[in-house]
Symmetry: C2
Subunit: 403 residues, 2 copies
């Protein structure tokens, strides 16, 4: 019997581990011995829609290249943010996608992505079943935000968390070098959930920063914030604050909304400044000290040189597992991992239905944030630390040598 072909695609925001997942599926295609050609779709589902597929099976012949792929950040196949409508509302799109799959005789399709992409996996899988089309569609999870349900943590998060914790430890060394009062505000990604920002707390193992952490899970209050900063400045000459880009006031609005900071360009697009700039202004207008704003920007999701080896390994295995299940005929599911223990750190792998993940966002449990809402608990630190993949603080900053 002729072996059917395999398609893989990547979607959503870049991470440092999404190419490890790609490597995992490509090597599993060879390991299984059950796959014909291996195709990659460029720019996610858009590439399937627009018949933009390339053969990538030869990649496996270059072992060094495969190793480098695992350490290359972002999506080697390109990505997209394409939200699929229902088959009822947009039959033409579904027809175009399955026409492409038929044209290339795709029997198995693994889609690597976040909660939107798992919605795509669900919809395509349901459509195939309804239409009697023989193609197994599986998801492999990724997102730096760590907001995916159905699994202990999201592949990609550990690497971003390692970047954030390492960089906070280094920034602390720098921020405290002069002997006058300073406040350094560092903004991390996290529009709806604060996991990335919270990961900064691991840096406390080698230094005093961050002193304060503000998350989207807790309403932000300007006056309480100023009180917190004054209290910290009374104890430390250099205060370092971690904020999530998505912190909101009690009225539900992001702190960078309604601040008169938005600019409109010549094309009519509105450009808002970050939350960091709003808090910088707040401090500048209320406390006499030097304030600095730092935005981790793309670095937090693409600093592959600080990728977590745990994250890369788990991401690779999850990719391989998604294809392995697809080859068994499973469809509409996503490979996930469950934590068995923190120390020693142990996980087990399984699959769950895509609807467990699709379109949902997992926030930090309130009990992992302190009562005042300006720091996280030790439980959260114990949860994050093994995901960094290296013993944090064994190298690097020597706090006791900073006199």
């Amino acid at each position: 019997m002729k072996k059917r072909n395999f398609l893989v695609a990547q979607s959503g925001g870049p991470t440092s581990a999404i190419n490890a997942t790609l490597a995992g599926v490509v090597e599993q295609a060879a390991i299984s011995g059950k796959v014909g050609k291996v195709y990659g779709a460029k720019h996610g589902i858009k590439g399937v829609l627009e018949d933009n597929l390339i053969e990538i099976g030869e990649m496996l012949q270059e072992t060094h290249a495969m190793l480098r792929l695992i350490h290359t950040p972002s999506s080697a196949l390109g990505s997209c943010r394409h939200k699929l409508k229902s088959a009822e509302d947009d039959p033409a799109t579904y027809k175009a996608i399955f026409d492409t799959l038929a044209r290339y005789d795709i029997g198995y399709f693994v889609y690597i992505g976040g909660n939107d992409s798992m919605d795509t996996v669900h919809k395509l899988s349901e459509y195939a079943q309804e239409q009697g089309i023989d193609v197994a569609i599986m998801g492999a999870p990724k997102t730096i935000d760590n907001d995916l349900y159905g699994m202990d943590h999201s592949p990609g998060f550990g690497s971003a968390a390692r970047y954030i914790a390492t960089t906070f430890a280094e920034i602390w060394c720098d921020a405290k070098v002069y002997d006058y009062p300073t406040v350094t505000i560092v903004e991390t990604m996290g529009r709806h959930v604060g996991w990335l920002c919270a990961a900064s707390a691991v840096a406390r193992k080698t230094g005093d920063a961050p002193h304060l952490i503000y998350l989207p899970e807790v309403p932000f209050d300007d006056n309480k914030f100023l009180e917190d900063v004054k209290e910290q400045l009374a104890q430390h000459p250099a205060v370092v604050i971690a904020i999530s880009e998505g912190i909101k006031r009690a009225n539900g609005k992001y702190v960078n909304e309604d601040n008169g900071n938005a600019k409109v360009d010549a094309f009519g697009h509105k450009h808002m400044g970050g939350a960091c700039r709003v808090l910088e202004d707040l401090i500048n207008n209320n406390i006499e000290c030097k304030v600095r704003c730092i935005d981790f920007s793309l670095m937090q999701r693409c600093a592959a040189h600080l990728a977590s080896p745990v994250d890369l390994t788990e991401s690779r295995i999850l990719g391989a597992m998604s294809l392995s299940r697809a080859l068994e005929g499973v469809s509409g599911e996503v490979s996930v991992l469950t934590r068995l223990s923190d120390s020693p750190y142990r996980v087990e792998y399984s699959t769950v239905h895509a609807t467990t993940i699709a379109n949902l966002e997992k926030a930090i449990p309130r009990e992992w944030i302190n009562a005042r809402g300006n720091f996280v608990t030790d439980d959260l630190i114990r949860y994050v630390e093994p995901l960094l993949g290296v013993p944090f603080g064994e190298e690097g900053c020597a706090k006791h040598l900073c006199f």
Copy 2:
């Protein structure tokens, strides 16, 4: 004969290598066998002025701690930006400094810092000679800006250059992931000279970024800039631009001056936005594309996890050499290095008079910048690359695997 004591202090902006220099002088104090106690002054010359000295000789007893100190960014002793007036204009300051040195029986003083600090070395050394005070005062150089005269390159630069080149390579992977036109502008430090920004060109070994580089050495022209960006966008969907914070227009003003972006806080201090924001507005108002601003901020000077092993080694040796010469009675000089060849990369060490360095800034030679003024030449890349201390691009991004 009783051994005289030794004092070390650190000054100016942090680097990832200034603690390696500190480690070098502390270990040389032990190696020489000629030094009594080892003192560190907190916050540079301010600590001497204010009698804020601590004994740090015991640090050497912890070999692991010394190793960690070498990998700890910023100044473990704290820093200052204190410009010394002449002894004629401010005799009280000189008296206070030399009173402290006498009180602790300091026979040798090594000051680690940049061009301002080397001015301090010169002035204090001259004063001691004029007054017949027996103390040898030597400088050990550092600055990420690479603007020090009298040496091939500045200790601290190589580590910052490695951070910048690595991060540009990673940002390129991320910036090009979607299939619509984007411009990513990355601002590096460098108020007067463009070496840090120019180091981004090494990233071209593993990718296409940066596409354009703008330096303080060449007058910035808004229209030429927009032409350059349009030309690059016509060839690449994702254009990555490196700019130095100190880029100036032909009228000699920084691009972030006179743009109406400055804010005045409640205490009357003026806060200017970065050059990056000005260019972001310029593109938003003239070209239809997505623009992102990235500021490498403190990370470029404190990312010790990416410190150059070449930089750390040279920095340590230069520190040790400064004390070694001081013990021979040399004063008012600075340890430096001269490059013998690029490949193999070879250097030799010597000392020069502090006035060779004091208050001067070495710019990029015009012939190392292209005629259009929007990129650097291969000569500059050949100069920078060995300073990174690792073969760039052997790991990390696999350009040929990004389809």
